[in-house]
Amino acid sequence: MTAPLDNAVEAPLPVAPPVIRVRGVVKRFGGAAALKGVSVDFRPGEIHALMGMNGAGKSTLVQLLAGVHAPDAGTIEVGGAAHDHLTPRQARRLGIATVPQRRELVLGLTVAENVMLGALPGRGGFVDRRAMRATARDALRQLGIDLDVDRTVADLTVPEQTMVEVAREVNRGGDALILDEPTACLGAEDAEQIRALVRRLSAAGKAVIYISHHIDEVLGLADRLTVLRDGEVVAGAAAGEMDERSLVRAMVGREVVSVRPPRRAPRPEVGLALTGLRDGRFIEHLDVEVRRGEIVAVLGPAGDAQSRLFDLVSGRRRPGGGAFAVDGRAVPFGRVGRSLGAGLRCVTGDRRTLGLVPELSVDENVMLAHDRLHRRRLHFPAALARRAAPLREAYKVRALQRNPAVGRLSGGNQQKVLLAKWLGTDPAACFLEEPTNGVDVAAMAEIHALIDALADRGVAVLLASSSAEEVMRLAASVLAVRGGRAVAGFDVDAVTREELIAAVLGGALREPQPRPALQGDPT
């Protein structure tokens, strides 16, 4: 039952016994090990953060607990009984609820059905719709979400989908709740809702396993930290025993600094201009100008307006009205080829659906757009690997195998592939939606530096982000968007993080500052 040899993680007696004990688990994918003998305990009433760089093995560990994968060695003890592996149903029965890193919902079903999935309330085999909807509504309300439970999940924004998923898992009850990067694509307000819920659940005695790349979030939330590196536990401590520096050092092996570099004044030419853009209830009226060499941010809750912006500028969708120009030349909406031809590169915030082809290799995904833009006709894997190598290196793409299908990479590494794919194509202008979604602190700093370098080369960068920190790190000016409208414009040097968040959340409304590069027009 116990693991006497492994005293390192054994705690003194008065502490409640662990809900889950992981002992020496090993998980290999195609020969290479993603986990190399990990042991860790998760205790009731404790928020336990799993930290580590992209590909460190966090999600793999979570997947062993959720029954997605079976370990190659080691045991998982739940409630005192040891298992050499769990099935998904077993995991559920043992009280382990999991919100995985990939959003996992049945898109064709309603919110209520998704919340109750696998446990639809029934009478004599018939679904008790009233009970189903009531329970779902309650579960969502706990999260502070007011969502029509009859809506089809496919029509929801990514944050809304996240909330539905969290609601589903919380509603399951059980002793352990695992959240794998729940806040990765959430805005500040939604993220705070999740954290508040997590605190409540933990106070009520649940063991919460929490994964996030936001260091400050973790330090403010977790009771205990375990750091994984290359599939091994390299540090484990109570939260108070680690600060940002030591945590980052444990994860990365060195210190990471990311500061806004001094930047040259942007060139006079306007690289990207959106004029009078409107699209349904998502974008009511938007005017943005980004000069060559400038980074302008649109700050707003992740999802709705941002992914709509991506759809419009990428050519995926035609707006209700407005115009758009790259380098002063008008580009028609709804024409992917024309957007690309104009030199605009758009990085989606939804890498799984709109960013990568999971079955194709890393190299092919990295070069997918590049080779098409250069009208290559022939394809040789070795030559492709040579062309992809510098980009893989620049974006620090890490995989267990040399060139696996991109769907097999860890989430953060997939994000790096996505950025490499687009930013390696010599853009004239870029639209970046949540560019560092899910990447680790070190990679984030490197990606920020790469985006800085883009601007230095004279690229006009329009950044759509829900993170005030990221916006302040990268952009010169910020347009705060709320409810589909630009509500305020800011010069980054003249605004605080709190002011930015307040503008987005609808706190103190400031008059848009008259700035040539940026106009928010509330009407």
């Binding site: 959720a66 029954g67 997605v68 998904p88 149903r89 559920r92 999991t98 995985p100 996992e104 919902l105 049945v106 898109l107 064709g108 079903l109 059905e113 999935l117 696998g118 446990a119 639809l120 029934g122 085999g125 018939f126 679904v127 089809t152 496919a154 589903r168 050519g315 995926r316 969708r317 035609r318 709804g334 024409r335 992917v336 659906t353």
Partner: protein
């Protein structure tokens, strides 16, 4: 191309449906419209079409295929596929006829047929559930195999069952052919199961995203086994109905032609080949459309070479119309 079926096509002239006035957003409007056009056309050309006898004929003619199509709708909604249903039906007719001719009581023959068919469906289910082979592939193989089994059971010759099932094949309840009553009942039950039962909603979930369903605790393997067994059972029921109607089983009974008719009805009825979406109403409309087209071609004395041309063309038009309408979702 699977993804697009779910999401709105990128840069599509998006949501034709969204732009329609509310009253036009009836599900299956496209299919209903095509049926209406065919009906009006037929009625204007011959007064034989809109008669009670003729319409009862059509309904009786589609009863068997509608059972298979109904089962397929449920299964395909769960992301499954059974290309062998009509072959199970063929084997079922052969076994039933052989048993009845051999002197078994009819009820025994019926039960044996239904039991065997369920078992065959379950075998498909086991193969699909416990291997990684795509259901289409598994059931294409078993369809071939079962067509051979049918020949073996029949010994190559037709076997007549006389009047022993005539109450079913030729009987009527309050003027409505018994076969049609059975078919309607089965479709209604399937419709209710799909909409209102936990099992039916789980089927949508499995079809929509099997991994998520499994991780959410849906008993995916068990449900799939049940779904394939039900497909088998319904194929068996179709066999009993078919043998009762033909009063015989022959090597030409059941099999590919019937299967393709059922598949065509299901898919033009809007059920997705990729799973996660489907309605029995759409399937019923698909079945009716195919039945009416066959009937009208006969009544209007269209040359047989043009039957195929006309059927193909109507299928195409119906599918296109139905999808224009559906594209919003």
């Amino acid at each position: 191309m699977t993804t697009t079926a779910t999401a709105a096509g990128p840069a599509a002239p998006a949501g034709l449906k969204e732009r329609l006035p509310g009253f036009l957003r009836i599900p299956h409007l496209g299919l209903v419209a095509v049926i209406a056009v065919v009906v009006v056309f037929a009625a204007s050309r011959t007064d034989k079409f809109l008669t009670v006898t003729n319409l009862l004929n059509v309904s009786r003619q589609v009863a068997v295929v509608s059972i298979i199509a109904g089962g397929l709708t449920l299964l395909m909604t769960a992301g499954g596929m059974d290309f062998s249903m009509a072959s199970i039906t063929g084997v079922g007719t052969a076994v039933a006829a052989q048993l009845i001719e051999g002197g078994s009581p009819v009820w025994q023959a019926v039960l044996a047929t239904l039991g065997l068919a369920t078992l065959l469906g379950l075998v498909n289910g086991v193969a699909v559930t416990f291997t990684n082979v795509a259901p289409f592939v598994v059931t294409l193989a078993t369809a071939t195999l079962l067509d051979g089994v049918k020949l073996l059971v029949l010994g190559g010759f037709s076997i007549s069952i006389g009047l022993s099932l005539s109450w079913l094949g030729n009987g009527a309840v309050l003027g409505v052919p018994t076969l049609v009553v059975v078919a309607a009942a089965v479709l209604i039950v399937i419709g209710i199961v799909m909409r209102h039962t936990v099992f039916g909603r789980d089927a949508f979930a499995i079809g929509g995203n099997e991994d998520v369903a499994r991780l959410s605790g849906v008993k995916v393997a068990r449900n799939k086994l049940v779904l394939y067994a039900v497909a088998g059972l319904l194929s068996g029921l179709a066999a009993i109905m078919l043998v009762s109607r033909l009063a015989a089983s022959s090597p030409e009974t059941g099999g590919l032609a019937l299967q393709l008719e059922a598949v065509a009805a299901v898919v033009i009825g809007g059920t997705s080949l990729a799973g996660g979406r489907g309605t029995v109403v759409g399937t019923a409309l698909g079945v009716v459309l195919l039945g009416i087209v066959g009937n009208v071609l006969n009544l209007l004395q269209i040359s047989s070479y043009y039957h195929l041309v006309a059927t193909g063309a109507v299928l195409l038009v119906a599918a296109v119309f139905n999808s224009l309408h559906k594209s919003g979702h």
